[in-house]
């Protein structure tokens, strides 16, 4: 029996910023700007925040440095270091902490200046793994290329189907004023782009951008008195199977297969009920794997599922409606951006990319190399 407090907490404030390159700002400065914007969006002030759940790629001690920077003295801090899935896991802890009365308003926040500041990818992987590092894999890309190659071998998935994912993401990005990468993108463009690590071209790989995101969570009773339409957290679950890609038994099956059923059970919904799906698409293979692992199509059918624009605007399932990590933003750890987009859709504020009548949204996080899988399900008051 799950003790998850379904619908008893909600996201009441959100912000994303710095999706474009923002030279001159540190990662902390970007995090702080997003955090203050999310707190203001919630109709609160920094003094109202008593839980700070933070992540900075290069600062293992952000649980202390973020409160210091913002001038907050939290009752609770949390710093999950599972890479891009950290934020979905933090939302789970926030729900439990809020419901238990350990704190009253939680800020979940992240920032990175990896594009303008570091001049490239920030590597936050910790100690090199002595049984892989000597061979010089170029992670994370190598690991995802190995998974893509295996999926193609086992299920007949094609490079064209992988490219469909990038094309769909771009079509959504073209509807999002905040997206980093816009313009026409065809399947042939993806296939003909520079090969990085077979079978992935540079257009099968996520962007490297700056960016920051933040959300504020409170208990549902308080959420109803705040200015924004609450996005209630209905279910949150995660699972971890490995750290290094050589330790994942089947490269076509992730721990999301275990996390998702728990999250659906908590929420009392099924995949077919979900109106909008925000997946962690660091590479085109991710979207295919996670559509399968989260139950939107059978294992092995992901490539065929995404064909013919099925996940693009106007398709059968709206997936990664902000443009995703492939075309909207990917500032190192992208997971919080899937949550903000899910909430934006539930609030009905997504403008030209709004999914009409969205009541249930799934926000997924992926950390490491398909390693940590975390699923959150949000809903409007209509599905409580």
């Amino acid at each position: 029996m799950s003790g998850f407090p379904r619908g008893r907490t909600a996201i009441v404030g959100t912000a994303v910023l710095g999706i474009d390159s923002r030279p001159g700002f540190s990662a902390m400065e970007l995090l702080a700007k997003a955090s203050l914007a999310a707190i203001a969006d919630a109709g609160l002030t920094p003094a109202d925040i008593d839980g700070v759940f933070s992540t900075l790629s290069e600062d293992p001690f952000s649980a202390m440095s973020v409160p210091e920077y913002l001038g907050i003295r939290p009752k609770m801090v949390e710093t999950t270091r599972t890479g891009g899935s950290a934020f979905q896991i933090q939302a789970m802890w926030a729900a439990l902490a809020l419901d238990a009365g350990l704190c009253d308003a939680v800020l979940i926040c992240y920032g990175s200046n990896q594009r303008s500041g570091a001049g490239g990818l920030v590597r936050s992987g910790g100690t090199p793994f002595p049984y892989e590092a000597p061979y010089k894999p170029r992670n994370p890309t190598t690991a995802y290329a190995l998974a893509a190659q295996r999926h193609m071998h086992q299920y007949g998935t094609t490079r064209e189907q992988l490219a469909e994912v990038a094309v769909a993401a771009r079509k959504w990005a073209n509807l999002n004023p905040d997206a980093f990468m816009k313009g026409d993108l065809s399947i042939d463009d993806v296939l003909g782009a520079r090969m990085v690590s077979d079978p992935l071209t540079v257009r099968d790989c996520c962007l490297v951008t700056d960016g920051a995101a933040a959300v504020v969570m409170t208990r549902a009773d308080r959420a109803r008195d705040l200015p924004q339409k609450p996005a209630y957290l209905l279910g949150a679950a995660n699972a971890t199977w490995h750290r290094n890609i050589s330790a994942l038994a089947d490269l076509t099956v992730t721990a999301a297969t275990e996390a998702a059923p728990r999250a659906y059970a908590q929420a009392g919904v099924a995949p077919a009920d979900i109106d909008v799906v925000e997946l962690y698409d660091a590479f085109t293979i991710n979207t295919i794997l996670f559509l399968e692992d989260l139950g939107f199509c059978p294992k092995g059918e992901g490539g065929r599922f995404v064909a013919d624009g099925a996940i693009a605007p106007g398709g059968r399932l709206p997936v990664n409606t902000n443009g995703g990590g492939l075309s909207c933003a990917h500032p190192g750890m992208y997971g919080l951006f899937t949550m903000v987009e899910a909430v934006t859709q539930l609030r009905g504020l997504a403008g030209g990319r709004q999914v009409s009548g969205a009541k249930l949204a799934l926000s997924h996080g992926n950390g490491g190399v398909l390693s940590s899988q975390a699923v959150t399900i949000f809903g409007t008051d209509e599905v409580l």
């Binding site: 894999p137 295996r150 690590s197 890609i245 050589s246």
Partner: protein, 127 residues
Amino acid sequence: MVKTVHPEAEYAAYLAEGRFMVQRSASTGAYVFFPRIAQPGTGLADLEWVEASGEGTVYSFTVIRNKPPTPDYVIALIDLAEGVRMMSRLVDCDPATIAIGMAVKARVGEVDGAPAVLFAPVEGGAA
């Protein structure tokens, strides 16, 4: 059999001698890779070093593309005959001829001057 005491250091020391060793549980006979102080899952701390057969098949692979003159190279996951998997490089072959399921054989070579277990296709070992 040599009992494992310091897994990481002993694996590296064997490799420096040109030997590719894996661990095996004395009680169950199950092989373990990567080297650990105990069998994953069970916690059985009865691991001994044994010489790897060196026989394996390609589970997956990717060609890492570089800007010339830096050469491309092939990273692969190899399923060893012992039933464990490891990352390695595929060498002595044209990347275009590599296929999942292909039979490969290990040798101890070097990557950038450091000893490493490398794999090459077995003659007539096409997938």
